[in-house]
Symmetry: C2
Subunit: 291 residues, 2 copies
Amino acid sequence: MGLLGAIEAGGTKFVVAVSDHDFNIIKREAFPTLDGEKTLDQVIAFFDQYDSIDAIGIAAFGPIDIVEGSKTYGRVLDTPKRGWSGYDFLGRMKAWRDIPYFWTTDVNGAGWAEFKTGAARDVQNMVYLTVGTGIGAGIVTNGHLLSGLGHPEAGHIFLQKHPQDSYQGHCPFHGANCLEGLAAGPAIEERWNKSAKDITDGDLAWEIEAFYLAQAALDYTMILRPEKIIFGGGVPHRESLFPLIRQSFADQMSDYLAVPPLDEYIVPVENGDNAGILGCFYLCKELLETA
Amino acid sequence: MGLLGAIEAGGTKFVVAVSDHDFNIIKREAFPTLDGEKTLDQVIAFFDQYDSIDAIGIAAFGPIDIVEGSKTYGRVLDTPKRGWSGYDFLGRMKAWRDIPYFWTTDVNGAGWAEFKTGAARDVQNMVYLTVGTGIGAGIVTNGHLLSGLGHPEAGHIFLQKHPQDSYQGHCPFHGANCLEGLAAGPAIEERWNKSAKDITDGDLAWEIEAFYLAQAALDYTMILRPEKIIFGGGVPHRESLFPLIRQSFADQMSDYLAVPPLDEYIVPVENGDNAGILGCFYLCKELLETA
């Protein structure tokens, strides 16, 4: 038996790793994201060290095409990131070695790790939301990653504005209409003219942030009826945010629908920085098992 | 081989029917909904005419408990409807005859019929939204009805208000915050002080209605990435509403995400008044096939 490979392809940083079939990490490296071709050169140089890799899981920053059979399957879609629009990520890997690859989004990778061994390990339906530079979701329904015409874009649902918020929004497509435009890291920084890290507990900024994240959690609840909603990414590092989200969720829900106790329902990510890589290992192992 | 049974349990009207295994309807009856016990008396009197019924599909008005293994599985949950809160619908049927039952919501029943033989027959991912006295959704992802801690409550997602709408909303829980409070039939009537049927094409009322339905379609798109969004129920009988929904959807989406051509993506129900009964037959037949 050979090794499993993982590529956590972030917009600013790539992490590559190999593990045995019990997910013990043998080697792990990280390097800054360059353009598509140069970054993949480094990825391939890393895996070239190993003769026997059985499969690789790839969790890539989006938007990417994950619809099998689509003409652009395996490619990065339109992105402002230089040297990546249309780049044939999966094709380059297959040209290198024609082994099985599991190709999905970065947030699906991290979400899958939460589902398998993290905060959602005991449930079959969950939403994993990452709130950082952007906002993205990995959704599991009935034990499977949800996708239809592509991966979820659940950071772009429309929200009601907080009555005390006059910010014009940060989404280039939806301004202050959507969750990402109102609540991602750059929106917090631009609205308050300082980094989220420098905003103290108890500031109105956190109440407004919690209002938006709670409203999003409410919409996911109404549509998906998950058993667990997990927040990851940079912004939810602020632990004091969670009680505020739960309180705002209860206020907005207004007793309409029974959900689990809120401190078990709306929770932080458990796998931390390893979630992306772990998710890649789990996904490519499952790919081998079902092949 | 015996017969298939169907119970379309609406809040105002019950429809019961039997068919052969090719879904040819042999007999169909409708009667007004009374309280739980009296209505089920009539249901059972109907099916008592047939000695050999192999399975029955039940599509019931909600909220109902469809989570197998739950303490209240098979019951109607809290409802303002007299004589129904907590009623053990499925238990009463099983006590009558212990055959297989498929137990789901009215909107899941009609949605499943659209998925099998209606507007969504060629896709694997769809949202069926019924807009009438209330607003409910049947969601299919990867060929399966979506449910988690229960059936979707997608009529209660929160929406931004139309800038020209000052209506205070009709939802007893969410006022003017949620889709149902803003866009169900009773909201239209109360807002404009006349029945939707009496509002002429071209009226601002339809522009506002389309804005809300389009915004809901946008949120479902972002979260679920469906291939088809189908509108049924009384309000979408107004055909001129569809071009308005599509236009508003395009305006609000603002080119963010590629979806199918809008006149194939946002469409009316095809099975019409038989959708609920058909869905029941399909679901109980599948239940027999997978048993």
